[in-house]
């Protein structure tokens, strides 16, 4: 369990190659495709970070916008006085701290209350920021001017996605990952085998929130002008949930399977039929819930298991798990 299996090495090499290949994109195109790729990488990072927590626990968090917005504002507030990497770290800390507070307050509650609370939280933070800006400053927004160009943002987001994947993989191999799988299966059993369920969930929520905060911080220079309505846009939270569910949250790479087609589709719809965006979102949500409750990867896994069991049906051979 603690040494790498051959399969893991192959997946690892494949992953590194895929990231390296993706990193070459700005050399080929600096326009439309790069912009599309930034969107895809952004949502890949957000959805994978979201799934780190929501996948195993089945708690649907709608706080993505709150963490993302905090990251964005960490950069926007101090971009003129402090170095950018430090501000990204600030974003991670702020989002992680918020996740910790929210987690401690709500993760003992059951799922439904958690969903509502996280949605309300994102709104609350947005209102507080708006109020603070209106009270203490004269402007409604903040300018972010840096030397960072689209391709730099793309590389940073790509690196972030890689780090999230690596973290997720390490968590899955750790006691924490095993604990989360047990909690997802049966929380009563989890407590009775000695798992501090509240603490495990809070730790994971903090990790997930901090990554989302970093993504927000990286994106700040891209927007240029930061307003509460755009930084804390609740649509971000909903899109992340839809895409992650479309891909499937049982596997680490599941969300990415949903992100790529969905971002491309979204882009197509915004360009051609921008007025119908909400309709398209609603329909896709319904389609996912009805047709793919376990996501694309869940469906693939089902098919694979069927294939495997048909293959091994005559002789049920024992292999070390």
């Amino acid at each position: 369990m603690n040494s790498l299996s051959q399969k893991e090495i192959i997946i690892g090499i494949g992953g590194v190659l895929a990231f390296a290949l993706a990193a070459c994109l700005p050399l080929v195109d600096q326009g439309y495709y790069l912009s599309l790729a930034v969107n895809i990488t952004l949502y890949a990072a957000l959805c994978t970070a979201w799934t780190l927590f929501s996948g195993p626990t089945h708690y649907v968090s709608l706080a993505t916008a709150a963490f993302f917005g905090l990251g964005t504002y960490a950069v926007a507030l101090w971009v003129d006085v402090l170095p950018f990497p430090l501000l990204v770290a600030f974003g991670a800390l702020a989002a992680g701290a918020l996740a910790g507070i929210v987690g401690a307050a709500t993760l003992r509650l059951s799922g439904v209350y958690f969903v509502i609370f996280t949605l309300g939280l994102a709104e609350l933070v947005r209102q507080i920021v708006t109020w603070a800006q209106a009270t203490f400053t004269t402007r409604m927004g903040l300018y972010v001017f840096t030397d960072l160009r689209e391709m730099h943002i793309f590389w940073m987001l790509l690196a972030l996605t890689a780090v999230i994947f690596l973290t997720g993989w390490l968590i899955n191999r750790s006691r924490l990952g095993f604990a989360m799988r047990i909690i997802g299966d049966d929380e009563t059993v989890a407590r009775h085998v000695g798992i501090d369920t509240a603490k495990s969930k809070i730790v994971l929520f903090i990790i997930s929130g901090a990554f989302i905060g970093i993504a927000g911080a990286i994106c700040a220079p891209r927007y240029g002008y930061i307003q509460p309505t755009s930084a804390f846009n609740p649509m971000t939270s909903f899109l992340v949930v839809i895409m992650a569910l479309l891909g499937g949250t049982r596997k680490l790479w599941g969300p990415i399977v949903g992100v790529i087609p969905f971002v491309i589709l979204m882009d197509f719809i915004t360009v051609r039929f921008s007025n119908y965006m909400p309709v398209a979102m609603g329909l896709s949500f319904l389609a996912i819930v009805f047709l793919l409750p376990n996501g694309v990867t869940g469906r693939l896994e089902q098919a694979w298991n069927k294939f495997q069991s048909r293959k091994s049906a005559p002789s049920s051979t024992e292999t070390a798990a």
Binding site: I182, H192, V193, D196
Partner: protein, 243 residues
């Protein structure tokens, strides 16, 4: 005489006006197999829940090896060395049998990880009669096999006290024989066990002592055959006319 492993003194649990466990006291010595019996609704499972931390007692003390555990969270009690099975079998459906058992070894009283935990899981599966079936998804197993997995999971933490909540319920006669033999073997190895059970044959053949509860109150305690012939116990089970 062996040292006291678990001491319950005046444990009480009230759900509003209903007192499910009414100032019950008893003790279990190391290596002892104690039967906790009584008619349906007499508070046996609630008593186990108080010990394992699934419920917090309204008042009273419970001590494991002399250290108070009453009112602690279930995970803390588990880490101190109390493991249990559930009345309605609770397995982890997305995992294999071996992973189910590992869950008991990794976080509990004995904190193993990696190869050691996996090795122990396979060893325990063999103990409960599931040799070589570790990689089967637990959802595909029969009821008795799931119960075996659950027992192996409880054993994986090497508990100081093992709580079995009607572990023999729902087994057919031949499975029952296997089940009784298994518990007998565990007890023979010196494990301290409290079993809640309705199967009287099992109580008779397995237990050193038993505690009888009725309507939340302890009505008798002692050697199995004396206790079961106690008029009060007979009345609790069968009603006044037969006493």
């Amino acid at each position: 005489m062996n040292a006291i492993a678990l001491n319950v003194s005046s444990a009480r649990k009230a759900f509003g006006g209903l007192v499910a466990v009414n100032d019950v006291s008893f003790e279990v010595r190391q290596g002892e197999l104690l039967g906790l019996i009584g008619p349906n609704g007499s508070g046996k499972t609630t008593m186990l829940n108080l010990i394992s931390g699934a419920l917090k007692p309204t008042s009273g003390e419970i001590a494991l090896d002399g250290a108070p555990i009453a009112g602690l969270s279930a995970y803390k009690i588990a880490r101190k060395g109390v493991a249990r099975t559930f009345q309605l079998v609770r397995v982890l459906p997305s995992m294999t049998a071996a992973q189910n058992v590992m869950a008991g070894a990794v976080f509990g009283h004995r904190r193993l990880w990696g190869e050691d935990a996996m090795h122990l899981a396979h060893e325990l599966l063999e103990r409960v009669g599931l040799a070589g079936r570790g990689s089967l998804p637990v959802g595909a197993m029969t009821y008795i096999d799931q119960k075996r997995v659950e027992l192996a999971r409880a054993l994986a933490s090497d508990p100081r006290v093992l709580l079995l909540d009607e572990w023999l319920a729902g087994l057919n006669p031949s499975e029952l024989k296997i089940g009784i033999a298994l518990i007998e073997q565990l007890s023979g190895e010196g494990r301290t066990i409290i079993m809640v059970e309705h199967v009287m044959d099992a109580i008779r053949s397995l237990c050193d002592r038993c505690v009888v509860m009725s309507s939340g109150i302890k009505i008798a305690e002692g050697g199995v055959s004396e206790t079961l012939s106690d008029p009060e116990v007979v009345r609790a089970y069968l009603g006044d006319d037969d006493a």
